[in-house]
Point group: C2
Chain length 326, copies 2
DNA sequence: TTGTAAGCGTTATCAA
DNA sequence: TTGATAACGCTTACAA
């Protein structure tokens, strides 16, 4: 493997000047530049990036944390982030926390050991005080989630709005007994706010909320099925349900139909995200502007790496998509 | 940021010995080891991985190529690969080729610039002769795809079987006019073999194949819808269709129903992969052992990095899952 | 406009 | 069992 030294020797020019050509410095005579470029081509030279990293203290690599990449919401985020990162010459390291605090911390060490220039969190498992120390090691940007303690660039949506929008839609369609179903039990701002939106819409309309109608820890399709069976077992059943994801809504829908229920007549369902699945199943859903979030996040990350101050927190909005489950 | 030098100084011991502790070398006095460990803790020391990379010529990083991470087949592969890699202390760099030859080559450069220890290809855009030169730069392992020219560890399924299984199922359910729908048009072994399986099943039973029944370039849900409309426009319509993915099958199903067709009465559909979506929609499908493939692939990769010779190409098998679309 | 020389933080070699 | 010392391949003052 040819090194910068070999190139310099073959071209009869110093290593410094070769490095200058590599880094597009000004002040290199065109003639020598050509000689060097020739030598590089001849030796099939490529700079050794480990050496560059060490010297420049820069990895051109960004870590993206997601719970699991098979969750379509997160894979969509990551898809766009990777494309965006590649445009700016950055690579993405995929970190699946698997909803584990321990895994999350393990991956945060990447920042401390200088394996990445920055970390993007799309979901946060630990309380912020456990993440905070890593802020000194390099830029951390939050996407989707948010935390009041976290004073780092954050790209998120006002989830009060999201919860409100979905619930309001159900109310407008005439449902009165509306259940609420959320993802993680963890007291994140996101979860709290979305629920706040639900309660706001209910109270605003003077509708009662039954404690039994709160369902938590629903993330996957299977979880959705379980939620249905819990609801089915209630004495005071809701007529409609707001869910935190299209997967959960899909599971609910499947289990309901398998039990002979008609949707939306026996139970109306609203999903969240507007994934391809939602269209296929005819799920009414609250659409999140995933691509915009991902793009903004990556841009903030790159700004942060470049030491620029971050722009005001972006605030994008939701859209309700009405299909056949409401 | 503390360096090995600081630790050595604080412990009053040489850098060499500190490095020995770091690398779990034998021959370090327990007493000194403790002193060093203390100093490390006190200084909050972590080794600088850029320096380690440079010195060890090892990155502990593996690149995984997929067309797009939002394709559930590939995200499932990547999920398992990442988990497996993490277990062995490796990180994954996500490379989305976006079905582009150019992108693929760009990412292959990661191997040449020593940014990764190896590359896993889950789909191949370029002809093998364009990939071949990179084999000298580091281990390349193929997963899912395969190529006769490629003499590298390859983990794949016998797609003749897959095509045969799905088609045979349709035949056994009594369909005679069966169409065939495949992903990329590129003449990959995978595509050719799966088609071979289809033709084998048809010929074996003495069934005719109409040239119009071959549909290509179908990857996404949207593609599936298009395929339906092409089929609908045929004079000699098939009664059933074998598709190369659950997404395409889902698109077909949706478009068919939107056009008022009954499935399977007016058109039977077989998918491929057995993704969550397949269960939700009641799609009959050919299940691939994705997790096994991913795990085997990562193990082969790690063996290859360690310079071990690779085991015989693994050969796993398909299962047919019968639901309601056939 | 170019070159010399001094690191960046590790680890491998060799001698003690 | 330990420590000096020389790399690994590159960039960047500084000097010319």
């Amino acid at each position: 493997m040819a090194t910068i030294h070999d190139v310099a020797r073959l071209a009869g020019i110093s290593r410094t000047t070769v490095s200058r050509v590599l880094n597009c410095h000004p002040y290199v005579a065109e003639e020598k530049k050509q000689k060097i470029l020739n030598a590089m081509k001849q030796l099939n030279y490529v700079p050794n990036s480990s050496a560059q990293r060490l010297r420049k203290v820069k990895t051109d690599t960004i870590a993206v944390f997601v719970p699991r990449i098979t969750n379509p919401f997160f894979s969509h985020l990551v898809e766009v982030m990777e494309n965006e990162a590649a445009m700016y010459g950055y690579q993405l390291i995929l970190c699946q926390t698997q909803y584990s605090k321990k895994q999350e911390v393990k991956f945060l060490e990447l920042l401390r050991t200088k394996q990445v220039d920055g970390v993007i969190l799309t979901s946060i498992e630990n309380e912020w005080r456990h993440v905070q120390p890593y802020v000194n090691e390099g830029p951390i940007v939050i996407c989707n989630e948010y935390d009041d303690e976290a004073h780092v660039p954050s790209i998120f949506l006002n989830q009060v709005e999201g919860g409100y929008l979905g619930t309001k839609h159900l109310i407008e369609r005439g449902y009165k007994k509306i259940a609420y179903c959320a993802g993680s039990e963890r007291r994140s701002r996101l979860t709290r706010d979305r629920r706040k939106g639900y309660e706001l819409a209910m109270k605003e309309t003077g509708l009662d909320i039954n404690e039994d109608w709160y369902q938590y820890n629903a993330i996957s399709i299977e979880d959705g099925k379980k939620v249905f069976h819990r609801i089915k077992a209630l004495k005071n059943r809701p007529e409609a349900i707001f869910t935190g994801s299209d997967e959960v809504a899909a599971g609910l829908l499947k289990a309901a139909r398998d039990s002979g229920w008609r949707v939306p007549e026996d139970l109306a369902i609203v999903g969240f995200d507007n994934q391809p699945l939602a269209e296929l199943l005819g799920l009414s859903t609250v659409k999140q502007p995933i691509e915009d979030m991902a793009r903004h996040t990556m841009q903030e990350m790159i700004r942060a790496i470049q030491g620029k101050d971050h722009k005001k927190v972006t605030n994008l909005s939701f859209t309700l998509i009405h299909r056949t489950t409401t």
